[in-house]
Symmetry: C2
Subunit: 624 residues, 2 copies
Amino acid sequence: MSSNNKTVRCALSVSSIPDITEAINNAIDNKFTYLICPLVNPRLKREYIADNLRHQQLPLTRSDLDLTAECWQNYVVGAAHQFYDCDSEDETIRNNSICGLSEELNIVAHLNLTNYLVPLRSDKIENFSRIINNILLNKLTMFNVIIRVPLHMNNLDIEIENVISRSNDDAPWYWWKKLRTLCEENTRLGLALEMTNDLPEDENEIERWYSEPIRMIIIPTSLFLTNKSGFPVLSKAHQKFINQFLKLDIDFVIEGANRHPERGMSKYQEYLNYIFKQFQTNSVDKKTQFTKGYEDCLQNPLQPLMDNLESQVYEVFEKDPIKYSQYQKAIAQALIDRVSEEDKKTKEIVIMVVGAGRGPLVKMAIQAAQETERKVKLYAIEKNKNAINTLLNLKNTDWDDRITVIAKDMREWEPTEKADILVSELLGSVGDNELSPECLDGAQRLLKDDGISVPYRYRSFIAPVQSYKVYSEVRRCKEYEHPYEAPYVILLNNHCRIADEQFLFEFTHPNRAKKIDNNRYGKLEFKANFDATLHGFAGYFDSHLYKDVDISITPSTHSPGMFSWFPMFFPLKNPIQVKQNDLITVHFWRCVSSKQVHYEWCVSSPTNSVIHNPNGRTYWIGLH
Amino acid sequence: MSSNNKTVRCALSVSSIPDITEAINNAIDNKFTYLICPLVNPRLKREYIADNLRHQQLPLTRSDLDLTAECWQNYVVGAAHQFYDCDSEDETIRNNSICGLSEELNIVAHLNLTNYLVPLRSDKIENFSRIINNILLNKLTMFNVIIRVPLHMNNLDIEIENVISRSNDDAPWYWWKKLRTLCEENTRLGLALEMTNDLPEDENEIERWYSEPIRMIIIPTSLFLTNKSGFPVLSKAHQKFINQFLKLDIDFVIEGANRHPERGMSKYQEYLNYIFKQFQTNSVDKKTQFTKGYEDCLQNPLQPLMDNLESQVYEVFEKDPIKYSQYQKAIAQALIDRVSEEDKKTKEIVIMVVGAGRGPLVKMAIQAAQETERKVKLYAIEKNKNAINTLLNLKNTDWDDRITVIAKDMREWEPTEKADILVSELLGSVGDNELSPECLDGAQRLLKDDGISVPYRYRSFIAPVQSYKVYSEVRRCKEYEHPYEAPYVILLNNHCRIADEQFLFEFTHPNRAKKIDNNRYGKLEFKANFDATLHGFAGYFDSHLYKDVDISITPSTHSPGMFSWFPMFFPLKNPIQVKQNDLITVHFWRCVSSKQVHYEWCVSSPTNSVIHNPNGRTYWIGLH
């Protein structure tokens, strides 16, 4: 783990600072990454007159000359110190608040800070949201607005509670949901969760927070306990909570007076760094090594029949430690079932690998034959000329004469003999989306009547998902006119499932139906586990290779350590608010024409969406 | 009324036709405008095999050679004869239906018909909606899909009722609402209402239908009574119902056997034509004469400070029979109040008309002075050089020396004396939207301390609105990147108000506040009168000229016959479904900067919308 020298990002939050240079130096000396501090002295009285604040000859706040521009940007996050009540019923308070907040936002822009932290304390936030929305949409500003909310209502201090009036759906998540909806899921909005002594009891509630754009977790020093050696530590419950969020790229914030003055503030940072290192050590495996950095990035699905895969793509996929060993297991079992122990010296089995790529399945077939001591004759069929080159090189160096390389589309090649076993790996994130059904239907001419297809079955699974991050990324995507109508391949991280996944479509091979029909229609009904915003649907698959040998990326049955596939995400044009126990009804269509395959989808409860991707206008997979 | 030679458009709907040429000739002979008939013989058995229908060597339907292309297009509307159950739980029925319907839609496209009539009989319509949506979005097809629904559930015949399973929100409007939502409010979707013996008792329900894209009203012959002379007539209730829909550009459809065979089918058409003529005669007044053809057309609001009005615009506005007589009344009353009967020979009153245009208000001031025998000195201030030319011509020909024409912006002119009465007509559809507040605030320097502004007050009013027509037009608008963020001036016709209008903003003149602030924030709460789709908000104004003399375009107080202003429509990005008695909470902001004025708006209940028009990015009114 020597390469893991990254340390935790941890900020120090202070409520007043006589000298900012000193404060920053102090924070850095105590190993904090940056300082969070108010930008305006809270004691400064400000009074609203028309649209200007009247100040005496006093400056509003310290001079920007106190620090270099670089220092402001890298070491200071601004915090709205006082609670601005921009939605007070009292017009004077309202107007004063709006002006005060606007003024601070101007300072943040002027200083070119990266982040600005603002507390949210109720759901009466229309005026507040308007101010925030306008600054986020102002192209001359760059900073993120980090909304600070408590994890538990107990955390609200009394002073603030008197200022605001309470309302119905009165829990911090609803305030936040309202704000992000009014601001049209802007990507520059983030969240800072204030950790509280009491944590939400419902696991679902924590999971729901997990799917929001958490940038910081604020930990008051008052939450720390003192261990036997006199060092600050967190309770088991708080440790567990923190660990759940470490998979997101978050910063910690230490706030409040030093409860262990004999040791200095650095002890808090050191403790969190210890937790962070532990997490890193525990979570490093081959899978995360390969998938690191891909979290929540939108990728367009492959077009395997229209485009040739690149060498790099093959290389990544070939490194999967699980997938190929499962294939070897499946082929070995099929060989044993096909050729009895007595016949193994005499009987030769024909295996065809269709879509052989650079040969990994050919290797697995060879190894399976060696392992089971069965005689095999192998054909490697591949349409990509570049991969053919690799295969022919392998044949010349590693493989013997029993292996024949065929440079053809599997749907067109006319063989002289038929196969006992047809092996393929043509699956996409939801199984059929890279047109495995169409390819294997076209290739099953190659198979003997009693031949075996590996895989012999694959199924897609769908789950309703909340993910602010993914949805806001989709909205920003400029590639399509209707970006919300294309599915994306994505390593879903910053998301939660509103209900467990359900089975959608199934394909089996060989397909002995009189007339093969790969059109599909499916209707699924999910019961929402909690109040949530439905942003779209995650798609997964499982694939049965031979008998009970299978591979899966479906959450409940995921093959441990397999990283070749990320899930698929089917967005909705508009997020749908769902209540706990609401029935979410979704309809999916797989539509096949002579030229292409596409999906359409819509939601019909709790409310109706539009029908997405009509006629495949935004997304389709070409058959040629 | 001699110019009113338009006749009613009335179609004849038949269920089977041995010979189509004969059927058309028969319809036209009986004064019908066109024929509605099934395109495929319902007795033809069709069976689904994969994605093709298997036919014997029989043709599916009659040859397109039976009629000329022009005849097909002008005289035939296709009707889906049988009820296709594209959403049956039975996969065979479902697939057969989908193929049958798709096949008919292909015939409609091939024959290039204008309209295709399809019945809707339940809310299980996801597959049906997908087929319809795909054909509507296919750019190679042009026809409208007219959805046929009964007005009252009693109308459903038993045979059909057995086919479908019933569900919750089970009334025809909900089926239709679901379809149009799934199809993203496509403008090529229309409605045909089947008139039933029982009509909806709730006026709201009829009004709600009125706001949908009604293209046809189907009247079964069985609904007709026979009057004393033996002619077919409708009941008073049915007549009343029809009259409510005649303001929309609808066709009638007569369907069913001739119940008055001795008279021929033409009698039905003649009766409806009689009703139509009566409606036309009753509704023709000066107002409809000027507004005819403007119904539901989107117009961009004027930019009076940035652009000069054209002569034609002035001419239309000057023809308003009500507005100027109200101004004359107001000025006369102000003159009487300002100058007592004793002083009228000696005391001279200064009237300034700011934004005089081509002089109508100057004329009203002159007439008011003549009427009240008060001495006045008049200034006509106008910034538009073209209008100045008209004013100077008028001064030379009609007016005397007491009238001075000033070619200046009212906010900049420096007069040598001040006015007793400042008269203006700077109002837009919601009062302040053509920047009357800013102009009059800038002009009140011209007014004596105790001077009078005519008008002295104006207010905006807002009502929540359902209108498929207007919303779908907004969605089609390509002028802006975010067309749903601009308000439009529009003669709202095909719409309904979900609740009565409420007061929003108020402005008074002269404004003697220490520091003038024309920013406004308003929050309104409406209780929905019925289940509906909220597409946006209608805006109106009233204006108090002097004392109780006023003008209004607010529905509950509209000045009879006044046509100078159409309402304004503030759209929503996404329609919001509301339930009866839901609280609709809307927030409006009027935002003033040194360069421009703009509005922002959002809905916060029953659900949250986005904030529309942030920073005035889509719509703003320039101050210079």
